[in-house]
C-alpha cells in the first residue's frame, strides 16, 4: 500500500514535470524574437582578474589567514555570479542557434550547429565550474582553476558574433562587454 502510494505520487510528479517542460517549450517558440535582448554582456577583463591565480597568491601572502579566507570567499561569490551569467547567456545562445538551424543557407545552418555545440559545452563547463566554486567556498584555501571557463566564453563570444553577422550583418550579437 505504502509502495503504491509512493509510486503514484512519483508518477504524478513526473507527469507534472513533463507537462511543464512541454508548456515552457510552447512559450519558448512564441518568445523567440526577443532572445538577443536576454543576453547580459560580461566584463571579461574583470572576470579574468578575478580568476587570476597570481592575484590569489598575492592576497594570500599579504593578508592574515582569516582575512584571506573572507576575501577569497567574496571573490568566489563574485566568480559564481559571473559563471552563472555566462551559463545563462550560453542557454540563450543555444536557443538562438537552434532557431537558426533551419536556415536554408547551409553555411548559416552549420555555423548555428557549431554555436549550439559550443554553447552547450560552455553551459556544461559552467555547471562544473559552479560546483568547484561552491566546493572552494567551503575550503577557501584550496586552489581553483576557473580560467578554462574564461577561454571558453571568449570563444563562444566570437561564435555568437559570427552567427549574428551571418544572420544580420548590421547587428552582430555581443556577449562580452569587453573582448
Amino acid at each position: 500500500m505504502t509502495l503504491a502510494i509512493i509510486l503514484v505520487i512519483a508518477a504524478a510528479l513526473a507527469l507534472i514535470f513533463i507537462l511543464g517542460v512541454a508548456f515552457s517549450r510552447s512559450l519558448q517558440i512564441s518568445a523567440g524574437a526577443s532572445l538577443a535582448n536576454q543576453i547580459h554582456p560580461i566584463d571579461v577583463e574583470a572576470f579574468r582578474t578575478l580568476v587570476d591565480p597570481a592575484e590569489d597568491d598575492y592576497l594570500r601572502r599579504r593578508l592574515p589567514a582569516a582575512e584571506f579566507r573572507l576575501v577569497r570567499r567574496e571573490r568566489l561569490r563574485a566568480m559564481a555570479a559571473y559563471v552563472q551569467t555566462a551559463g545563462r547567456n550560453a542557454a540563450v545562445l543555444v536557443r538562438m542557434g537552434q532557431a537558426a538551424l533551419t536556415s536554408a543557407n547551409p553555411d548559416t545552418a552549420e555555423a548555428a550547429r557549431r554555436l549550439v555545440d559550443n554553447a552547450l559545452l560552455l553551459r556544461r563547463n559552467a555547471a562544473f565550474a559552479l560546483l568547484r566554486i561552491y566546493l572552494a567556498l567551503a575550503w577557501p584555501n584550496s586552489g581553483l582553476a576557473a580560467t578554462p571557463i574564461l577561454h571558453g566564453y571568449e570563444q563562444l563570444n566570437g561564435s555568437a558574433m559570427l552567427l549574428g553577422r551571418l544572420q544580420n550583418p548590421a547587428a552582430p550579437v555581443r556577449i562580452s562587454a569587453r573582448f
Partner: protein, 256 residues
C-alpha cells in the same frame, strides 16, 4: 458504462491500435519511418500485440491462462522495444552535439542502473499471489517496465531542459506521448500490482490506461503529422570563420 466488454471498452481497446496502423502508414509514406526506425517498428508491433491480446480476450476458445501467456509475450516484446525506442529518442535529441552526448550517455546509463535496482526493490516488496502468479507477475512486470521507462524519459526531458535544448518536433512528440503513457500506466499498475483496489473495481484502471493510450496516439499524430512553426533565417554568405580554433579551445575546457 465503465464495464468490461461495453461499447466504450471495445472502442478504447481497438481504436488506438487501428490509428497506430494508419499513423505508421502515413509516416512511412512521408519517409519518417527511416528517420525513426525504432518508433516505426514499436508502433507496428505494439498495435499487433494489443490487437492479438484483444482477440484473445474476446475469443471464447482462448483460456484465461493462454490469455495471460499472450499478455506476457506482448509485454516482453513491447518492453524491449520501448527501451530501444528510448535509445533512439536519446540519440536523436543529443547525438548531434558532441559536447553533450558523452556526458548524457554516462548519466542515462547510471540512472538506468538505479532505476532497475529501484524497480527490483519495488517488485520484491509487492504482495505475491501464489494462486494467480501469472496474473500478479504480469502486473509486476508492467510496474517494472513503466517505472524504468518513465524514469528514463524524465531524465531525457530534465537533461534537455537543463541545457535549454529544444528537441526536434517529432522527437519531442514521440517522447511526450511515451512519457504521458508511462507515467499514467506506472500509477495504475502500481495500484494493481500492490492490491490497493479490490479486483472487481480494477476495471476503472483499465479504462484509464486505455484512454491514456488513445491520448498518446493522438499526441503522436499531432507531432508527427502536423507541421510546426518554422523560423526562416535570411541567407548571408559565410565570412572567414574561426570555429575550428574555438572548438579546440573548448576541448581544453573538457580536458584542461
Amino acid at each position: 458504462m465503465l464495464q468490461a466488454h461495453s461499447f466504450l471498452w471495445h472502442y478504447l481497446w481497438v481504436a488506438p491500435n487501428v490509428l497506430l496502423f494508419i499513423l505508421c502508414f502515413l509516416i512511412w509514406k512521408r519517409g519518417l519511418g527511416k528517420q525513426f526506425p525504432a518508433f516505426f517498428v514499436f508502433a507496428v508491433l505494439s498495435a499487433v500485440a494489443q490487437l492479438a491480446l484483444y482477440a484473445a480476450d474476446v475469443s471464447p476458445s482462448v483460456t484465461a491462462k493462454n490469455f495471460w501467456r499472450v499478455d506476457w509475450a506482448g509485454l516482453l516484446v513491447e518492453g524491449s522495444l520501448k527501451f530501444i525506442l528510448i535509445g533512439e529518442i536519446f540519440a536523436s535529441a543529443f547525438g548531434a552535439y558532441a559536447s553533450l552526448a558523452r556526458l548524457g550517455k554516462l548519466l542515462i546509463r547510471s540512472i538506468g542502473i538505479i532505476l532497475v535496482l529501484t524497480a527490483a526493490v519495488a517488485a520484491a516488496y509487492a504482495p505475491k499471489n501464489g494462486l494467480f502468479g501469472i496474473v500478479s507477475g504480469a502486473h509486476m512486470l508492467e510496474q517494472t517496465i513503466y517505472l524504468i521507462e518513465s524514469g528514463l524519459l524524465v531524465f531525457i526531458f530534465a537533461f534537455s531542459a537543463c541545457f535549454r535544448l529544444r528537441l526536434a518536433r517529432p522527437v519531442f512528440g514521440i517522447a511526450l506521448g511515451l512519457a504521458v503513457s508511462a507515467c499514467v500506466h506506472l500509477a495504475t499498475w502500481a495500484i494493481a500490482a500492490n492490491g490497493v483496489l479490490p479486483t472487481d473495481r480494477r476495471g476503472v484502471l483499465d479504462f484509464l490506461n486505455m484512454a491514456t493510450y488513445n491520448l498518446t496516439v493522438l499526441i503522436w499524430f499531432y507531432y508527427l503529422l502536423v507541421p510546426g512553426k518554422v523560423a526562416v533565417s535570411p541567407a548571408v554568405p559565410l565570412p572567414e570563420n574561426h570555429l575550428d580554433v574555438w572548438n579546440r579551445e573548448l576541448e581544453r575546457l573538457v580536458r584542461p
